[in-house]
Amino acid sequence: MIRKSKSDIRNFLLHLLLSLLGAIMIYPLVWMFFASFKTNDEIFNSVRLLPAEFNLDGYILGWKGNRQIGFNTFLINTLKLVVPTVIFTVISSPLVAYGFARFRFPFHRILFALMLSTLMLPNTVLVVPRYIMFRNFGWLDTYLPFTIPALLATAPFYTFMIYQFLRSLPVELDESAKIDGLGPIGILLRILLPLLKPAIFSAAVFQLIWTWNDFFNVLIFVPSVNKYTLSLGLRMMMDIEAASAWNQIMAMSVVAILPCALFFFFTQRYFVEGIATTGLKG
């Protein structure tokens, strides 16, 4: 009995500590959510979390935007950028991962090491020559600088994640499929892909959220306002509004991150597994 109550106290204290820490961690996010329903006056004059009354002005005015271009354009642009990028990633990464995981061709080791080493290749180093290159290709102001790299599996994170998962599937599967007369493509499509679904889904989830939030690359490769994504639109709004309409800025920030947050809540197990299996992500 004594032992039990002692561990009860310990558990209680632990819960207390964790909920306190957790509350501090997400308080800013919760605060932003509720602030988006406040009037501008209330945002600056009250420290209360909940709004006095739920006011949708921030959303209505913010959504219209202030030049001719509103957030509906930014949202559509974001989707035009994100959806093909995710689809291409999901097609290309399993192919490359399969090539590395199941075939031992000459120079396999060197090529694989090269691919892994690009994990540490800083994007910032490549951005200047890539800009010049994409400009010569006529790709600026299109989303090709995002979709084509995805099609060519240049983000080793996803390939490696699926590779790790593939390595955990027994080779006997391939062998018996071969006896049944399947070739390399048949084995991938009929046998391995169905089993790889969780890993592929993890890759899709990561790619979706990172591309959705990307700012630096869009800033550089997409100069025109009518091609801006949500991130760029938000930044522009903040520059123009300066300190005036924080309720609109907050509302549009919520618009920009709420889809990601909801998506995360429904798919979080894939996140955790994705990170744990690759041991990656910065």
């Binding site: 075939f103 800009y131 099609l151 240049t154 990601c260 744990a276």
Partner: protein, 302 residues
């Protein structure tokens, strides 16, 4: 051990592998290798994209060290940031992971909460939020005034702006935490039991059991987080635009401004290459140091 020969055996198709990795080979050559070499080439030129590049030897490199005051300033603040934010983030992630590793109901819920900020990465919305929290008349200062503490100029004071901006990164410790959690779950319970029998206190258990077994993960986090920290751009760009007094003018902003604001592509390429070399050297040093502090269960042969 068995797998390798077996794969070879079943694959008389081994050359099919090339077919599957072809997309990556093209991508690697065109989108990674070529740009890397091209920027090395540009780094020896004067190039504004209107005229053809003109070779000027090492002048770009000489200029950074002798004439560009922004260069030394941004190197300084970037190093401070890396040295401050990376260890803080790792320590924080480890501490929270240790707490979450205790078997208790509801741990998955806490894990979700702690991980949530990390999914937003360097997003603009989070930077906007941060700016609002730490503005002079922002939420933090108003909360402080409730406790009658004087407002702090979080973003306007050059001495603390870098700290304030770096807090975002530390706040997003989720992925390091998940890695530590996965590592902690793999430590055999027997080790702790043995330590307890030997009379080791909790602190000693941490120091002699937990920490050594986690060093590979610490190592991995250290490498990846350092590389990322060098590249940080969005948060300082959106929150402070590098100010006040260039106190948050990180290296990525220096590259951005030279390349895309002043169109000095040659100079920006030289800056990029210097960063690349710096990252390689630092990573190599961390790797070199690893035998002295990273514990590998298999005796160190990777």
């Amino acid at each position: 051990m068995k797998i390798k020969p077996r794969i070879r055996e079943i694959n008389k198709y081994q050359y099919w592998g090339y077919l599957f990795i072809t997309p990556w080979i093209i991508g690697f050559i065109v989108l990674q290798l070529y740009p890397l070499l091209a920027s090395l080439n540009y780094s020896f030129t004067d190039f504004n994209m209107l005229n053809d590049p003109r070779y000027i030897g090492f002048q770009n490199y000489i200029r950074m060290f002798t004439k560009d005051v922004n260069f030394s300033q941004s190197v300084k603040v970037t190093l401070i940031r890396v040295l401050f934010a990376v260890p803080m983030k790792i320590i924080f992630a480890l501490m929270v992971a240790m707490l979450l590793n205790i078997r208790l109901k509801g741990m998955n819920f806490y894990r979700t909460i702690f991980y949530l900020p990390s999914i937003f990465g360097g997003s603009v919305a989070i930077s906007v939020l941060w700016k609002f929290l730490f503005m002079r008349e922002g939420l933090i200062n108003r909360l402080l005034s409730v406790f009658s503490i004087k407002p702090v100029d979080w973003l306007g004071n050059p001495d603390i702006a870098l700290f304030t901006v770096s807090l975002v990164t530390i706040w997003e410790f989720g992925s390091s935490m998940v890695l530590f959690l996965a590592g902690l779950k793999q430590i055999p319970r027997e080790l702790y039991e043995a330590a307890k029998i030997d009379g080791a206190s909790l602190l000693k258990q941490f120091y002699y059991v937990t920490l050594p077994l986690l060093t590979p993960i610490v190592f991995f986090n250290l490498v990846m987080q350092t590389i990322n920290a060098f590249q940080e751009f969005t948060t300082p760009f959106v929150i402070t635009s590098g100010g006040p007094a260039k106190s948050t003018y990180l290296y990525a902003m220096l590259i951005y401004e030279n390349g895309f604001k002043f169109l000095k592509m040659g100079y920006a390429s030289a800056l990029s290459w210097l960063m690349f070399i710096a990252i390689i050297i630092i990573t190599a040093l961390v790797f070199k140091s690893s035998p002295y502090w990273v514990y590998y269960g298999d005796g160190g042969s990777t």
